[in-house]
């Protein structure tokens, strides 16, 4: 098993954190993991993304050229990464902010109204967690439980107070995806 995930969105959407959550959970589950944030050419106000690998094998290259899963939180990210997804891979689209359909026909697509769900969960900023929940549902890689246990280990102290909302967002994303699927 080797999962290569790219999570991408605006600077403030918490994509790096979402990636770190996956990596941490993978580590706890005894997998090999790696996580690389984009920090390269992007400037303030541009897009941010990160590449996560979770694998049973040793990870040689930590760079992700062809993700098995792509999670996109805004439109520029979809445009940028759509073509790179491995055939029969997955694309999870935040349809709250992306008014465009995925063109690729050889991939599995799931549209999630992440911002809307996040607002319902209690904070519009937890759309990243909604997407993580949805991804869990479609891949079944980890349990909701382990990922929620990892959560407090990757968020900053200051943001621990949002823990409950984040957990709810994960659950609601999970449920949405299960029902949609």
């Amino acid at each position: 098993m080797t999962q290569k995930v790219i999570i991408a969105g605006f600077g403030g959407q918490g994509v790096i954190l979402a990636g770190k959550l996956l990596a941490y959970t993978g580590m706890v589950e005894g997998k090999n993991v790696s996580h690389i944030p984009s920090y390269g050419v992007e400037m303030r106000g541009g897009t941010a993304n990160c590449a996560v690998i979770i694998s049973d094998q040793e990870i040689a290259s930590p760079l992700v050229v062809h993700p098995t899963s792509l999670i996109v939180l805004n439109k520029p990210s979809l445009l940028k990464f759509e073509d790179s997804v491995t055939p029969s891979g997955r694309i999870l689209v935040n349809e709250s902010l992306i008014d465009r359909e995925v063109k690729r026909k050889d991939v599995v697509v799931l549209y999630v109204p992440a911002n809307k769900i996040a607002e319902e969960a209690g904070n519009g900023r937890s759309s990243n967690m909604v997407m993580i929940g949805a991804w869990l549902a479609v891949t079944g890689l980890f349990s909701q439980k382990t990922i929620k246990e990892s959560l407090p280990r990757v968020v900053s102290k200051r943001n621990l107070r949002y823990n409950e909302i984040n957990e709810r967002a994960i659950d609601m994303g999970y449920e949405y995806a299960k029902n949609a699927g």
Partner: protein
């Protein structure tokens, strides 16, 4: 022909910093409920009739989103 607006705000250019809101001495401007495609709530020319085209909102707007007419 309808009279053009005194204040024209480029919605897509607005970053929602709210500096214009504070700068307007007449409380004309308000923040939107919606977000623009960059994900920001944006400034809206709301209480139009109170505007006297004093330009202060435009003076402070960091992103040149506001044009004022008189």
């Amino acid at each position: 022909m309808k009279d053009p607006e005194r204040v024209v705000i480029a919605k897509e250019c607005c970053k929602g910093c709210e500096l214009c809101i504070d700068a307007c001495p007449r409380g004309v401007l308000e923040m939107s409920e919606e977000i623009n495609s960059s994900g920001y709530h944006y400034s809206v020319f709301a209480n139009k009739k109170d505007c006297n085209s004093c330009t202060l909102c435009a003076v402070i707007c960091p992103d040149m989103c506001i044009e004022v007419y008189k």
